[in-house]
């Protein structure tokens, strides 16, 4: 399940939705708004997104992760809009039969998300603000049969 939302991310609900008696390993990764960047105090963070495209790319991350690991359940949620310090901006939760697969699949999903999903961060400091240096997305074009890196 994937979701792009402006609402706060509820980790309890995510864990409830991962319930599956065949899974012995559950990994939940949370990304939160940090209070500093490059030795400067951050006061809040805005996230801009291309919603329809971001949902499509999140679904690709989900599908690719399921293809590579024996994932029983996977939930990826990314928040956008205006976030305060400590707010959860992204959650990736994976349930597998064994922990090794769960850790690896979760790591792959968050790293691939970062390289492919069109979302942009703007940091606010005590004085001024600035868009966070990003990465050129890993291209996976329409009709392209190659898998994500």
């Amino acid at each position: 399940m994937i979701k792009l939302t402006k609402e706060p991310i509820n980790t309890e609900v995510i864990l409830q939705n991962l319930e599956d008696k065949s899974t012995g390993g559950v990994v939940l990764f949370l990304g939160r708004v940090r209070d500093h960047a490059n030795n400067k105090a951050v006061t809040k963070m805005d996230y801009d997104a291309y919603p329809k495209m971001a949902e499509g790319k999140l679904a690709e991350v989900e599908a690719e992760t399921q293809k590579r690991w024996p994932v029983k359940k996977i939930i990826i949620v990314h928040r956008y809009g205006s976030l305060e310090l400590g707010d959860v901006s992204v959650a990736v939760a994976v349930a597998c039969a064994h922990r090794k697969d769960a850790f690896e699949a979760c790591r792959f999903a968050i790293d691939t998300l970062k390289a492919t999903v069109p979302i942009w961060k703007k940091e606010y400091f005590k004085e001024g603000s600035g868009w966070v240096d990003g990465v050129m997305p890993t291209m996976k074009q329409a009709g392209d049969k190659t898998t994500l890196q």
Partner: protein, 83 residues
């Protein structure tokens, strides 16, 4: 033909536009559209080189063709996820 441009992040701020209708020659290539955008919006010219493009919500390369009615996204380097 008419196409719709969508700007995001810093590009949206610099152009002051989220969406912009534009008339271009038929079957224009993304690389030619990139040049046109640099002329039309000089304030983002230096950012276009490091930007990516999408057509109808899929990433495309500079040699992709744009069709009438397409929605072209101009996407600065992405920074979602978490460090």
């Amino acid at each position: 033909m008419n196409i719709t441009l969508r700007f995001f992040g810093q590009l949206r701020e610099l152009t002051g536009k989220q969406e912009h209708e534009m008339t271009v020659k038929d079957n224009i290539l993304i690389e030619d559209l990139e040049w046109l955008l640099g002329q039309r919006f000089p304030q983002i010219k230096e950012h276009l080189e490091t930007s990516s493009f999408s057509i109808n919500e899929e990433y495309v390369s500079r040699n992709a063709k744009v069709n009438a009615g397409d929605i072209v996204g101009i996407l600065p380097p992405i920074s979602g996820g978490a460090e």
